[in-house]
Assembly symmetry: C3
């Protein structure tokens, strides 16, 4: 494995093999598997789970990791191509990325969506500019439109909670939030559930449709796995028989890059806070998933997060086991 | 060992066993004892010694560590219970702590006193809110009213400088400082010296009395060990025959949470800077202790810190050895 | 090896032995050579390459490292001697350095030039104040006037690109930059090339002469190795037959510590951006070196950095291998 970027780059069998490896490493530690190996972690955007879980993953396998963020260089790192660097930034990614990679056996890079232009973010412009500079094994730690480590962990979580290997009723729901968040998690999640052959419903208000290209890719993946993908604004319809609701807020795609218009629209939907009444039509043991961090009382009610439906801590822990498998496949 | 929180939770024999282990690891390294094991370090407050010594301790035993502080998450970590998270913080400790712990075999947490309400700080409200969320072995890296790692290291330092296993004359002295500092170190230090059966004098100006609950606990511990605890404002009386002076500034308990009144009172005592004349009545080889960081020329004169009385560097180094013992006892 | 401070402290044979060790560790990893050993990294100034490469170096040899920077302490670390600490800083280097060192088997310290007074920086006042406090093996990670790790890596890079062991034509050129940068890299570079017996030309505008003491030391080193050192403002003359140009901006020595006068002077030389026309008289395969970070379009044109002349990434990677040799020589 050289470039862990999009879960859809892999077959279901390949993903299952990775997760078998994850489970093996979870239950039978290999504390010297990556002895003398180094993982570079480049964070152009903030992190808590990813920062912690990758360092822990590498240490558990006997390797080492180091962390770089732009504020560690002098006055930050420039990302724009062809620029005359007479401003604050003293270093360009064209040097920083190859240098950091030169110290490591594998590198993880995080660069959130800029959220100015939807086409740029769908094309993953900033991340791909760095990706083009890397010749060693590379892990996408969340780019504008991808978050494959999250989806691999969520796939494992669905297995762990007893969802069938294929099928099941999955709702991806938009949720309220004060800020216009990136599309990476919903885009990667709808594809993940589709690849599992689930019947996927994307529940969101008007103006928050996922981009056509993402929806079409998800439908194609679902078709190949025997599942389906649809979207609706009707909560009762969406939740009918649901076995999993995956909540996440994201930017308005209608007003992408327009904070004012996005804010005006999202303020009309502050009632999109997942709470027990949402589950009236759902399967009795319908689970609640979220990638974290999550705003309590805004995205979801405390009683859901603190109750038996929630598997958010398991999802987060599975980040580590999933990433151990990716690192082992790359470097062992 | 599951929850290293208060030195007084342990018997003198248990502490001695821990310190025997510390000395063994100091002189006979075990660089693979914690192979594949991970320590999470959560700093809600800043750190230098604790940050460095825990990472070094874990590495010396062959394990790994990762560090998390609130600024690594997006806009910080919320600690208030039941709050609707519509402000800056994007994550709550109710998720952050279990997630961080899920990557680790043990976790250390630091959360300084808020210094608004004395009863809240004596009850260690913020730290205990996090402690309740942890199911793996937990180390208190300084909370509002506890600092057991400091006291364990100081106990070892007293042994190292040849103090008797039981007894000796110990002065804990308030010192000048521009800011109202937490009570954790004086509270934990008076108990530590009492447990050693020392004759302990707390020397402080009026208005800086240690809380009754702490003093009473210290007196009870002293009684069990054959020592004593008293307090005074009289420097000559306190220092008479003293074998150790442990200096530390702390907040006015009379004006706790009132920065203005505290400042007015502490400015009257800017002469509480430990210097050679303090030692006129003391034992010839009376030692100077401080937990660091220390303000030179404010808390203590340079000639004391730089002279033969000072054992502050040994105290700091013993943090590492003491913590290696705690980690070994928890995880090996 | 106890104190890696100035490349000129070592004979050419000793440097060659270190680089033989570097090459051996590069091609035959020793992932347990420093098992249980700890490197402390104290950064009083920012870092990217040094931060990453030292952590990677130590991990590749099976040891551990921890990083300390002033913002990790409460309100920073005081460096001035004899001061009454009633300001922001809560800790003095006189405690911080010995404490940090007490956790480690070796320590690296970085402290950039203050750039207020040239004599102070040539005397390396701030760095030497810390150096005096260290009793364990110490590595200079860049001080006001030294950067031995950079020079050791550059020496290896010159070997790697096929420069003869002795001799060759080397140009150290000042370059444009918006800010008055330290003298450490040019000072250490001119000495490194002189020690290799190269014919060294320092190319710089009037007002940017390197200090006499540095030039004299370089001339003495060159004489011992059969090389030469001269300086000029004439680009065509300097580049005639050059096999290597090492670009770097630095402060005006005429106006040292005077930002306004320095700025007025450097703005007259914004055309000192290395580009292809500079190479008209040079050897066909003349290489471009720079220690990084580098401002594109200011110090050097993109087409040089992105073209076959540039060896800047190799230089950066050789930092790791050179430092592995230093650490191995100190600790294995």
């Amino acid at each position: 494995m050289k470039d862990f970027h999009d879960l859809a780059d892999y077959s279901v069998a390949e993903i299952q093999a990775l997760l078998d490896l994850a489970a093996r490493l979870q239950h039978n530690p290999e504390p010297r598997a990556l002895e003398g190996k180094i993982l570079a972690l480049l964070f152009m955007s903030p992190s808590l789970r990813t920062l912690a879980s990758f360092q822990a993953a590498m240490s558990r396998l006997g390797g080492g990791a180091f962390v770089i963020s732009p504020n560690m260089s002098i006055h930050g790192i420039e990302t724009r191509p062809g620029i005359v660097m007479d401003g604050m930034a003293a270093e360009h990614i064209r040097e920083a990325v190859p240098v950091i990679a030169s110290y490591a056996d594998a590198i993880g890079i995080r660069a959130f969506a800029e959220r100015r232009n939807l086409d740029d973010d769908l094309a993953d412009l900033e991340y791909n500019a760095m990706r083009d500079l890397v010749e060693i094994p590379l892990i996408n730690m969340e780019s504008a439109i991808q978050h494959p480590c999250q989806s691999l962990a969520d796939w494992k979580t669905l297995d762990d909670i007893g969802m069938p290997k294929n099928g099941g009723r999955f709702v991806l729901s938009w949720a309220s939030h004060p800020n216009p968040l990136p599309l990476a998690v919903p885009a990667t999640t709808v594809k993940m559930a589709a690849m599992r052959g689930m019947d996927v419903t994307v529940l969101r208000p008007e103006g928050f449709e996922l981009p056509d290209a993402i929806m079409q890719q998800a439908r194609d993946l679902a078709a190949a796995s025997g599942g389906s993908v649809r979207e609706t604004t009707d909560r009762d319809d969406a939740m009918n028989g649901a076995q999993v609701i995956y909540a996440k807020s994201w930017s308005s795609t209608r007003h992408y890059g327009d904070k004012k218009a996005d804010g005006d629209l999202r303020r009309q939907h502050e009632d999109w806070c997942v709470d027990e009444p949402w589950f009236a039509n759902a399967a009795d043991d319908c689970r609640f998933m979220h990638c974290l961090p999550v705003r309590r009382g805004i995205v979801v009610a405390d009683r859901i997060l603190d109750g038996p439906r929630s598997v958010v801590i398991q999802e987060a822990q599975n980040r580590m086991f999933a990433q151990m498998a990716v690192l082992h496949a790359m470097l062992a």
